[in-house]
């Protein structure tokens, strides 16, 4: 029994964190919105990318963590990736690492032998490891972040958040394809987070290179959705930690009534509660990553029989989303008026958290998934 990352995983994540501290300071995140750095007077016209950070991560091998060795990757596991994603969240990196190195690499890796178009799958895997940007979307016209700068899109016909679990869709109708950016119709839309570079993607399910169809596509969709929700969860934990640290630092300095704001018990308890929420969300994320990496769930007496991977991911996404949302409000309240401006860095983190907390199923959606399994028997 060992519930902790390996030393190698810890070191890799720490190295990523150090790299991002250099290449992705808040000013760079602000720049990714477009406009004058640190002054946002409207929504961004930036492309949501910090090239220096992306290039450094590619060089470090982050993008190939899940890519098989044959395609130039590190052939590591999601266990490994979540630690890195927490660091990406901590620095509010806007680049689509979770998508490219996570959802896409994992999904394509699952069908590098079985896909109708094996060539496209393996070429794309190799491209991901080498730094190509591939993003993913679920449904016929999903919102996709960073789509406008992506080289390729991995598209799933079915959006699992839109399906009534009492009347599941027909698996035979599912299809997963790879499309060049030029093959889809992109409509940029404004997100509250200007660095998301969000677009609505309209696409033709009959086009592109086929990755899977029918029941294989159905299974792959479910799997990819779990990875997407898990990756969001890891980012949210990192964002939560960052906002707590930013706030602790601010309230330790800011004085009112002759004392630091952080010395008031109300502020202390707000922050303690925020920290509690993040603390107890993180083990759920780590556990979900372990199970999604093929690990076996902890055996304990009286465990409720559930599809442990699905429940573990939903637990992680529900709690990390709730924790991050709670932290945004706590952080803002403890900052006071300065937090309510774009002069403080806090907004860059809050807005990302608001978006990710509701992407790939919000806490209510995932809670319902857990409840359905838990109380079914």
């Amino acid at each position: 029994m060992r519930f902790a990352p390996t030393e190698e995983q810890t070191e890799f994540a720490a190295a990523t964190g150090a790299l991002l501290a250099d290449t992705c300071p808040p000013s760079a995140v602000a720049a990714a919105w477009g406009g004058e750095v640190g002054r946002h007077t409207g929504l961004g016209d930036g492309d949501g990318r910090i090239r220096a950070a992306w290039d450094a991560l590619v060089e470090m091998g982050v993008n190939g963590i899940l890519v098989p060795e044959q395609q130039g990757g590190l052939a590591m596991s999601l266990d490994h990736l979540v630690g890195v994603l927490e660091e990406c969240g901590y620095s509010a990196l806007p680049d689509p690492v979770a998508d490219s190195a996570g959802v896409v690499a994992h999904s394509l890796g699952q069908c590098s032998d079985t896909a109708p178009d094996v060539g496209a799958v393996n070429d794309t895997l190799a491209a991901v490891a080498a730094g190509s940007t591939v993003v993913s979307g679920f449904g016929s016209s999903p919102l996709v972040a960073s789509a406008t700068t992506a080289d390729t899109l991995l598209m799933f016909t079915r959006d699992p958040t839109r399906v009534d679990p009492d009347a599941p869709a027909d698996p035979a109708a599912d299809r997963v394809v790879l499309l060049d950016r030029s093959e889809v119709d992109l409509e940029p839309v404004e997100s509250v987070d200007g660095s998301r570079a969000l677009a609505r993607v309209r696409w033709d399910a009959a086009s592109g290179a086929c990755v899977a169809q029918g029941s294989a596509a159905s299974a792959l969709t479910d799997e990819a959705f779990l990875v997407a929700a898990l990756a969001d969860s890891a980012l949210l934990v990192g964002l939560g930690r960052a906002m707590i640290d930013l706030t602790v630092s601010y309230v330790g300095e800011r004085k009112q009534f002759g004392v630091p704001v952080g010395s008031f018990q109300a502020v202390k308890h707000h922050l303690a509660d925020a920290a509690l929420a993040v603390q107890f969300a993180e083990p759920l994320v780590r556990n979900a990553a372990h199970l999604m990496s093929g690990g076996v769930a902890v055996e304990a007496p009286g465990s409720i029989p559930t599809d442990s991977r699905s429940v573990a991911v939903s637990a992680a996404k529900a709690r990390s989303s709730d924790a991050a949302k709670k932290v945004t409000e706590t952080a803002l309240q403890c900052h006071g008026a300065i937090g309510y401006t774009v002069e403080a860095d806090l907004h860059l983190f809050m807005k990302r958290a608001w978006a990710l907390a509701r992407s790939h199923g919000d806490s209510a959606f995932h809670l319902k998934r857990v409840r359905r399994q838990l109380l079914a028997g």
Binding site: V192, W354, R358
Partner: protein, 389 residues
Amino acid sequence: MDLTWSDSEQAFRQECRSWLEGNVPAGGLDSGDTAEGFARHLEWEHQLHEARWSVVSWPEAYGGRDASLWEWLIFEEEYYAAGAPQRITQNGIFLLAPTIFEFGTPAQQDHYLPRMSAARDLWCQGWSEPNAGSDLAGISSRAVRDDEAGGWRLSGQKTWTTRGAFCTHLFGLFRSDPGSERHRGLTYFLVPLDAEGMTVRGFGRLDGDEGFAEVFLDDVFVPDDDGTTATMERGGILGGVDEGWGVAMATTSSERGLTLRSPGRFRATAARLVDLARDRRGESADSVLDAVTEAWLDAEAYALYTLADVTDLSEGRSPGARSSYNKVFWSEMDLRLHRAALDLLGAEAELDGGWMKGYEFALSGPIYAGTNEIQRNIIAERVLGLPRK
């Protein structure tokens, strides 16, 4: 209990509703916190004034209708239900005007109030300073006496001044007694933003609008009041020199000020929320629909609570302690209403639409006008009677 409206109140409501139906701009206006939006809002304020809806509870002489508190509530209900634009004149009307009514000289009242109701003067507040936010008594901007010139010279910095970038005048507290500390030695000044020595720098609010401003004052001259219009146009003092704290406090707790926030706005939001929930019922989790129901109940409870407050006020009883609860409740209710809406929207919530903007705006509620932490201290100490130390 009698929860029916009188015939004259019904008639007032009808008049109000008809006018709004005929005049509220279809599709609403863009935010009043951008330069373009502000200009359109200003037109709307002039339109309201011309039809005598800008300040219904004020005397007719100042552009009002002498409306009762009940009628004011009705106006607010109809205004928000009609989806009419946010009021860019709000800070003047709610925060400054009650003070002018109570402390202004007749000449000041005659000069400032009609210009305010007509939206000719647009007032922003100058309470907060970089080091005086929650701790308002920490003000360090100063007013130095200039006997030779016959007036005061103001210097310092005000910040988080809502719509400061677009307004024409500022009201706020300045330290007029240089040796004073905390609440003492402050004076309540009125001053035009185009005065010499005044610099306004707009900056971005959370939602990206240029709603806030920093105002830098460098030796801005405010002449002594001689009762002439020419002098009042250059600013003045409300209440006595060094008595600013008492002047400001007397009306921040005014029933028409921030503590009695009319329920109309929240009920209108709740009604829109329920519409959204009905649309999205099939695809929403139970917990979200429960949150919608709870938020709607909040709005109902708040509306009824307000009726009790207004009954007390109308019958000459002070709601006193009761009103301390209002600000905490409405500000957190506003968050619950918007959170529920965003949860209904799910992945679409991040789109920069009305609900997200509304949520961002609602987030300021628990902070401004005395943080909710301070409000809870007040409830505990002044209402419940817990020991201060």
